[in-house]
Structure formats: C-alpha cells, structure tokens
C-alpha cells in the first residue's frame, strides 16, 4: 500500500493550482481569437444588431467566400508574404555576416561600431520614421516592395544576437578548421553558420512575425492600394470608425491574415519556445 503522505511532485496542490491558473490565462488569451472566428462565421446584417448573435445559428461561410472573390486581399496577402519573407532573408543574411564580423574579424573601430549598433536597440522607430520617410522619398522608393523591406533589415537586435551567438562558439572550432585547410569563407559557411541555426530560427521567426504584423511603416510608405500589405489593406476596409457595418467580413479577413502566422507557429513551435525561454532549455 502506498503511503499517501509520500512526496510526489504530481500531487502537489501548488502544481494543480498552477495548472488551473494557466488554463484560465490560456482561455483568456484565446477568447479574442475565438470571438473573431465566431464573428467571421456570421452574416454582416445579423451582427449589426448586436455581436451576441455570435452565439446563435445560423452560421455562414459567405464571408470567406467573399474573400476569395475579392482579388485585393490576395494581392495584399502576396505583398505581405513577399515583404515578410524578403525582410527575413535580408535580416538573416546581414545579421549573420555582421555577427561573424563583430565576433571574429579584426577591423578598425570594431568596438566603437558595435556600440553604435547597440545604440540602435535604444532608438525607437518613432524617432527616425520621418527622416526615413524622406530618405526613401529622395530615392523615390515609396510604394515598392524594397521600401517595405529595407528598414526592417537593419536589425540591431539581430546583429547583437548573432554576435553573441558567434562569440559563444569556441575559437578552437575555427582553429581546427584552419588546420583542416579551410578557407575563411568556408569556415563561416560550412562550419560556423550551421552552428548558429538555433539563433537563425529564433531571429527568422521573430523577424517574419514582426514584418507580417508591421503597420506603421507600410501605412505611410505604401500609399497605393496595390502596394498595401495585409495589415494596411484590412484596416482600410473598415468603415467610418469603430466598424458598425461589415463586421463579419472584416473578421474573416483578420482570420485569413493570421493564417501564415499560425502556420509559422505550428511548424516552428519548438524554436519559438526555445527563443522565448532564452535558450534555457538548450
């Protein structure tokens, strides 16, 4: 017979309490998503009466069907995809190269330049957006994919992350590779870069999500509706203010817009958890 007073971590009241707290918090966080999902399945007219119509039949897929016939949304979706993917690739390339340089190469003013990069962490977008807007204006880049991607590619956080990551790789690995007659580029490409994959995944996912959800810069750079990203496009379909008409269609678009993010999350869940926990479970 088991001693009921025996210590067992599963039996701790504290653990059960934590579980329930977590469950309630999870439900709270999920509620808005379910709410939007519910709205998206309702007829626009029913919702004008009151959004509690969500709890009653009938439900309809008409809003989703409307997305399919509205070619604009697909264009915006494509723009978001191009921008988010391009920006992610750009960030990964630039930050890897910069991180390697800061961690491994000797060049004049290396420390000073690195500190300047770190200052970039402290500069909010608000502080530079007007100057940036003018710069892109001089070059005539507004309303292009490049204009939407470029600003996000200068990621101080990414450079910092990759530098730290390269720094954490023992120099002896490079030296072993040098003795293995490996060229400098090949050391970077074949030996060190593969070792930074966890950091690349973290940085890549964060960059993609950031780019996908970005609102402000596309709002003022992409002023032609052909160049809208999803966030701007969907916002632009809201009527007047506070949206009293067409709520169901708007919600369907929001669900549609979040699909890639959900997919990214499902596929890279493990990396995201690692990233958020700061590599503590490496």
């Amino acid at each position: 017979m088991a001693d009921r007073s025996a210590f067992s971590p599963e039996n701790l009241t504290a653990n059960r309490t934590l579980f329930w707290i977590a469950a309630v918090l999870a439900a709270l966080m999920l509620a808005p998503v379910l709410w939007i999902l519910g709205l998206s399945l309702k007829n626009n007219q029913d919702l004008m009466h009151g959004t509690d119509a969500v709890f009653r039949a009938p439900y309809t897929l008409k809003n989703y069907a409307d997305i399919l016939v509205n070619s604009q949304v697909f264009g915006w979706f494509l723009n978001s995809l191009i921008v988010a993917t391009g920006q992610t690739l750009g960030v990964l390339t630039l930050c890897s190269l910069a991180g390697y340089a800061f961690a491994r190469l000797e060049f004049p003013f290396r420390r000073a330049i690195f500190i300047i990069v770190l200052f970039g962490l402290a500069v909010p977008e608000q502080a530079v957006i007007i100057a940036r807007h003018q710069m892109f204006n001089w070059v005539g880049l507004h309303n292009t994919h490049i204009a939407l991607m470029l600003p996000g590619m200068s990621s101080a956080f990414g450079v910092f992350l990759m530098t730290q990551f390269f720094n954490a790789i023992p120099k002896e690995i490079d030296e072993a590779a040098m003795l293995d007659n490996t060229s400098q580029f090949r050391i970077f490409w074949k030996v060190l870069l593969p070792l930074t994959l966890p950091a690349q995944a973290t940085l890549g996912i964060f960059t993609f999500l950031l780019a996908w959800n970005d609102y402000w810069w596309p709002l003022i750079s992409a002023t032609k509706k052909e160049m809208y990203t999803l966030t701007i496009g969907i916002a632009s379909t809201q009527t007047n203010f506070a949206q009293s008409e067409g709520l169901g269609f708007l919600s369907a678009q929001a669900i549609f817009a979040s699909l890639p993010v959900v997919i990214v999350y499902i596929f890279f869940q493990r990396h995201i958890v690692t990233a958020v926990s700061g590599g503590a479970v490496k």
């Binding site: 004008m48 009466h49 009151g50 959004t51 509690d52 409307d66 016939v69 509205n70 604009q72 007007i130 807007h133 003018q134 892109f136 204006n137 507004h142 309303n143 709002l219 003022i220 750079s221 002023t223 032609k224 509706k225 701007i232 916002a235 632009s236 379909t237 809201q238 009527t239 007047n240 203010f241 506070a242 949206q243 009293s244 008409e245 067409g246 269609f249």
Partner: protein
C-alpha cells in the same frame, strides 16, 4: 507591302487609342471597402450604408463618363497619417476625403488647392450649399473642398421605452427636455418606470463624444471659448456648468456606463436605455431595425437634434465630410474631370443623405424624396443650428483627444471638474503654442 500596311494600321490604332486615353483621378477616401457587395453596382439607389453608397456613386460616375477613370484607394479612418506621408513625398492623390475640422490644418500650411474655380466652371454656386456645409470648407474667403454632408450628434429615441415611462405625447412624439432641470426630472421618471438608464452614451475608450457634448452645450450658452483661435478658454462658468451636467448624469445613474462605441450602438438596438446620444450616420441602421419585427426598436424609433438645454440659443456642434484637393500640378483634363466628379457628387447628394448624414446641398432639403426619408424633417433644422469651431482653429483632432481624456476623468470622478478643465485648457494651449 502587306506587312507594312498592317504595321501602319496598328500604329494608327495605337495612336487612336492614345487620343482617347482615359483621364485618371486618384481618389483616396475612408468609409471602408465593400467591392465584394457593391463593386459592380451603378444604380445608387440599390446601395446602402456609407461604404455601399459612396462605392456606387463613384461606379455611377465612371459609367456616366467613359473617358474618366477614378482610381480609388481606401484608407483606414481618418487616413491623415497616410495623407501626411503622401504630402511629404509629394505623392498625394488628386481627391481626398477630409473632415471640415481638419481642413484648416492643411489649408493653413498651403497644402490644399481652392475649388472655387472648379465649381464655378461646372456652374455650381457657393450658395447652393447650406451655411453649415459651406462654412465648414471655407477658409480665408475661399472654398477648400466640396462639402459633402454635415453630421452631428443626435438624440436617437426608443419610443417603446419612452411610452412605458410616460414620456410620449398624444401625437406619438417623445417628450424631450427643454432645460437641464427637465432633463433630470424626465430622466428620473424614465428610470423609475423602466428600471433602465435614460441615456445610452459612449463613455469608455472614447474622446469624441465628450468633446462634441462640451462644444454643443458651450455653444448653447453663447460661450465664445475660441474667441482667440490660438487659445482656448475653458476656465469659465459655462464650461464648468457643462461638465457638471455630464458628471451629474453619470452620478445619478441616468446613463449607461462603461460602454465603448460598438457596445453603445448595439446597446441601444437591444433596448438598454431610452435615448442614445450618437451620430447622424446611425439613422439608417436604426430605422431598418425599427421596421423589423421582434427588435427592441420595432415600430418605436425616432430621432431629434440634441435639445436646447441652456437658455442661450439652439445650437449643436457639427462637423462634416468634404472632398479636398491636395496641392499639386494637374492637367486641364484632370481639373475638368475633377469638376465633373464634384458635380456628380453634388447632384447626387440626396443619395449620400440616405446614410443619415445631413445633405450639404441646400436643394436636397426641398426634395420630396428627402423629406419622405424617415425622421429627416425632425433634424432638418440642424442645417441652421449646426455650428463648427471657428475655421482658424488648428489641430482639432488633437484637441478633441485632450478634451475627451480630461472630461472622461472628471465624469468618472478621477479629477475635480475644475482641475480637468484647467488641465485641458493648459494642454490645448501648449499644443497650439507649439505649432
């Protein structure tokens, strides 16, 4: 030889095509996108709602004018961030929606072109517009946009509940207060009879509603709070009286509390209170609900201007939507096309008035169709009583946020009334000083 002929023919065709090249107008607006439902509707009478009607109006214009192509870009309300960015990069569209209250910000910096000549070329007289609409777009003696409508806050009345409270006359019209004292008396009466709050107000997450109430009741007291357009005067007995009125309504439980805009809109639909203080644009929706069976408003909805509660004058704060022209070089063809578009919008202003907004074109008020729109007769007086801020007042959107924040604090008891008004005055004057 034959090939040469074909080539010439093609060149001729191309040339002919160029000769008939469409004139394109870049038009940027809010009101939402609803191409799915109304993208192909050219019969405007078939469209409903702000988005549907403006979409159909432009479709109709394009159908009537084969040589003109209107390229519509929708922006999130109110779209001024985007417009600012476009102006900064000299990529502004040709025609843009703008609130009357925002026009001076752009006009004072020389960013808008006047429209007087364009309207004159189409034979549109300034006197064709209502005083309220014309003054909304007129700055320094020139019109800086086509006035499209006027809108105000209104008393949307649930007659079913008012009847329960004994606040309906024999002729079926509601008994509305004519003074502050009557407001509280009738409010108490309503509350006792129905157990529900008298008013349905937007009090949460909101700045505009507070500000419009303040302006309205200050105007009713003849308070010239913007005597100097660069310095507001809110430390007056009049301003104190208004905020204390709002606070007392709140304190005595005569209003719904904690509702944001969307909640207040549907709350009134669901019979949460007797009178909703909300905008002209909801008339269409509420009428539709009153015509259906089984809703809280079935057969019992009407609407009136905000009544005169103070003995000064009958007045309601009004704003409106106009179509402005950002400063840029345009070809004569484009200018003409814009003129035609403006004429079409003005000619069809009745259709826009179906949204609930008051027409900007005086003649619409005389139209039988307009008068037969539900309840429009009740509110037509707003064309005369509607009043906006002095045209020289800049940054009206930012001022609205400041007043809204401070008044919300006062109404909810987080600040004293005097403190809130003093702070608001100081913040606004700091803002205006730093322009």
């Amino acid at each position: 030889m034959k090939r040469l002929l074909t080539g010439t023919a093609l060149a001729t065709l191309a040339f002919a095509g160029m000769g008939h090249a469409d004139t394109t107008i870049e038009l940027q607006r809010f009101f939402g996108a609803c191409d799915t439902e109304f993208g192909n509707v050219t019969d405007v009478s078939q469209a409903v709602g702000e988005c549907g009607i403006i979409t159909a109006l432009i479709n109709k214009f394009e159908a009537d004018n084969p040589g003109i192509d209107v390229n519509v870009t929708t922006v999130e309300w109110p779209g001024y961030d985007q417009l600012n960015a476009q102006l900064a990069s000299r990529a502004a569209p040709d025609v843009v929606t703008m609130h009357y209250s925002a026009i001076s910000d752009y006009q004072s910096r020389g960013l808008l072109d006047p429209v007087d000549d364009i309207l004159a070329a189409q034979g549109i007289e300034p006197s064709a517009f209502t005083d309220a609409a014309r003054s909304g777009v007129t700055k320094e003696g020139k019109m800086y946009g086509l006035p499209f409508d006027n809108w105000t806050m209104l008393f949307h009345v649930n007659l079913n509940l008012m009847k329960e409270a004994g606040l309906v006359n024999d002729d079926g019209t509601p008994i509305l207060p004519t003074s502050v004292d009557e407001l509280f008396a009738q409010g108490e009466q309503f509350k006792e009879a129905t157990g529900k709050p008298y008013l349905v107000q937007v009090l949460a997450n909101e700045t505009a509603a507070y500000t419009r109430a303040l302006y309205t009741f200050l105007q009713q007291q003849n308070s010239d709070f913007f005597a100097d357009p660069k310095a507001v005067d809110l430390t007056t007995p009049e301003a104190t009286a208004v905020v204390e009125l709002l606070k007392k309504i709140y304190d005595e439980g005569l209003t719904t509390t904690g509702m944001d805009y969307a909640a207040a809109v549907s709350g009134f639909s669901n019979g949460d209170g007797g009178i909703a203080i909300n905008g002209t644009w909801l008339i269409g929706d509420y009428v539709a609900q009153s015509e259906k069976e089984g809703t809280a408003l079935s057969g019992g909805y009407t609407v009136y201007p905000i009544p005169q509660l103070f003995p000064g004058k009958d007045s309601t704060y009004a704003d409106g939507h106009g179509w402005v022209l950002p400063k840029k070089d345009r070809s004569p063809e484009q200018v003409e096309a814009i003129g035609k578009l403006f004429k079409s919008l003005a000619d069809n202003d009745f259709q826009w008035a179906r949204t609930g907004h008051l027409p900007a074109v005086q003649a619409v008020f005389e139209m039988e169709e307009f008068q037969s729109l539900p309840h429009r007769a009740n509110i037509a007086e707003i064309a005369d009583t509607g009043q906006s801020l002095p045209p020289e007042v800049l940054r009206q959107f930012a001022i609205q946020d400041i007043i809204g924040e401070e008044l919300a604090a006062a109404v909810h008891g987080d600040k004293s009334v005097e403190d809130a008004l003093e702070t608001a005055e100081k913040r606004i004057n700091d803002l205006l000083d730093n322009i």
